[in-house]
Point group: D2
Chain length 217, copies 4
């Protein structure tokens, strides 16, 4: 596959290039705040840059008529409106979290909602490396919102070089169920991007979430 | 509720009586291999005895026209045939595992089947007290059978007075999901029996699994 | 062994009687706020009652000249002074926590102090049943005090019927060590009391902590 | 510090160079099976190569009169004899495992030996990435040997990209203690090498294990 990266010098950009090149895909377009380099028209453009640059990104894919996968965070309602407009011309896959595992976990939590009620005790714990400042993690907030039950607080641990772990415990008197997810590296996210890239080539125009892609057989 | 217990002097029989009496239900019929005592016609009979006595149990509920909840283990195909015959006259709920948590866990594993393929590594671990001789546990075998993937082996730990824990791990390169269940006491099972007893009173004649009861809204 | 219990109708009193009678020891003296019953002079008196009654307890053992094992909580400096005075006449073993495992854990934490410095991240987590109101648990506070490092906060989880779990994590970049203890039941404490009772019979007069007893070969 | 690496193109060699250069140390000598390059006399030589090359390594440090840190695996009795001979002229630090955490864990296990007896149940579990063929891991065998108790078997899990986790559980009826260690990356080992390098400069001639270095204040 011939692909492009917007935000190619960022951590996710580099990690994507790393995984895609391992699998033999060819980087034919790259852009960040300082450089834009086009070797050939890409079959898909992957965007992990800043929300300030997102309008430009949409213009680029509209002009080039290239499908877009975007994981840029902080997008606002107006960005989503524009994205949906542009998605009439090219397919767009958007998500704030391209981890396959985290998306599976959200499905498990929705399943739990069918069974648990207010008599259950629930605890959410997230553990990240010492350099992560924000507490709780964005993913913990995302998981918490899925649960019907009200959660008193999230436990945030900051330990060494833990890449990222999330655990949810559901207890009644007599028994307890735990569901946990650990990411080992950025590969947890880049694999979801690669899966999306492989699928987008055959998608009809339209706006898709990563979860829709994951659930598509 | 007025209820009866067949196998009332066994461990499960005693634990059921304990929970039911806490909630104000009245034991009006009890039976084991030596004694049969009828105070009043029960609204439901709960059977946790031996498979050898199961034919008698079916006769009793047929004669008395009382709904049955049975957790007796080792039942065979012929037992199930008879049960289905009798269930035309009274509702019957049957399960080899009345733990609500384990039944929820089976639902989570079926969900996992939608997402994981042969590229995932899976490990199953069960931990029980030192007096449990059989390895792996019946529940571990039950859980293993739900998974589409082939499991090489189950890890069986025997530790002190652990009542019973089951953990399943699913890993790809980059991330791992763990789902675990721990029972703290026999209450993990008696609560499922109590839930069944409350529901059976309003059920139409027929044969039901505990899972169907749990999934009934 | 012939033994007595002060506070025999409390939860610990009953659990002690249960374990001691299983091992063939004979309860010859019992006392609580309402009843005092002496069948025969005991070889040891075990006290798990209220701090308000502790002066009376000391008088009783002084008069009867019987060794004392006490786990009564909330004792103050003056109680300890009196205890040390009385211990000139009979041996006394005192502890706020008779769990063998927790006492071993304190030794492990002291060992950790030899190796870790301020570059390590440390997290303490305690999990108890939903009915435990105080946060963090007394044991968590005890463990925290052993560590040389300053701990920002203790994570307190309240889940179903968990009897009591304490976990301490030590992380540097690159690796993490976890030490955890779980008690399954009051037996975690009564076994330490039984061990103390067996040893006190051969002790010289004096004041002993449970840890000293545990470390005595 | 000016340092040299024997086996510089291996995984550990690269990881050592990476950490040492981050801290401003200068690689002035490097050697592997194909290349030998000397810029300046190093203050210490670090050897993570093959046992076949170990005799040469000893000759080099003897000639150059440079202290040696060696983590080469598979060394035999004759290698140790030669090493001890050479260590009369230069200090040598040797270990098959330079992880600070694993070495702390061995200390904790020795502490456990003081308290546990044959009434305890013990389970050892090691988890590594799917590409690790040997079961159980060398570290699991090392840990098992420290324990006085006989262990029936080690549980080996192979899951995704787990770098390496070891857990030991000790249970009596009533309570359980768990001690676990996880390495996140090769940094778990290179930090121990760096610590050794800083200390070796001030060491007298002689043969030292990494554990002795770690325990030196």
């Amino acid at each position: 596959m011939k692909y492009g990266i917007i935000g190619f010098s960022g951590k996710m950009g580099k990690a994507i290039e790393n995984l895609f090149s391992k699998e033999g895909h060819e980087l034919v377009y790259k852009k960040d705040s300082e450089i834009e380099e086009l070797i050939e028209k890409p079959e898909v453009i992957i965007d992990f840059s800043l929300k300030e640059a997102f309008s430009d990104t949409l213009k680029i894919i509209e002009e080039k008529e290239v499908p877009l996968i975007t994981g840029t965070t902080g997008l606002e309602d107006t960005d989503f409106e524009k994205m949906k407009e542009v998605s009439k011309k090219v397919p767009i896959i958007q998500s704030f979290n391209f981890s396959i595992g985290i998306n599976i976990m959200t499905e498990l939590l929705e399943k739990m909602n069918d069974y648990i009620d207010e008599t259950y005790d629930i605890e959410i714990t997230e553990t990240h490396h010492r350099f992560k400042k924000d507490k709780p993690s964005g993913t913990a907030i995302l998981l918490e919102k899925i649960l019907n039950s009200k959660i008193e607080k999230v436990h945030s641990k900051r330990l060494g070089s833990e890449f990222g772990e999330h655990e949810i415990e559901f207890a009644s008197t007599g028994e307890i169920i735990k569901i946990s997810h650990r990411a080992y590296s950025r590969e947890a996210f880049t694999k979801g991007v690669l899966l999306s890239a492989k699928k987008i080539i055959n998608l009809e125009n339209g706006f898709y979430t990563f979860k829709q892609i994951l659930n598509k057989k």
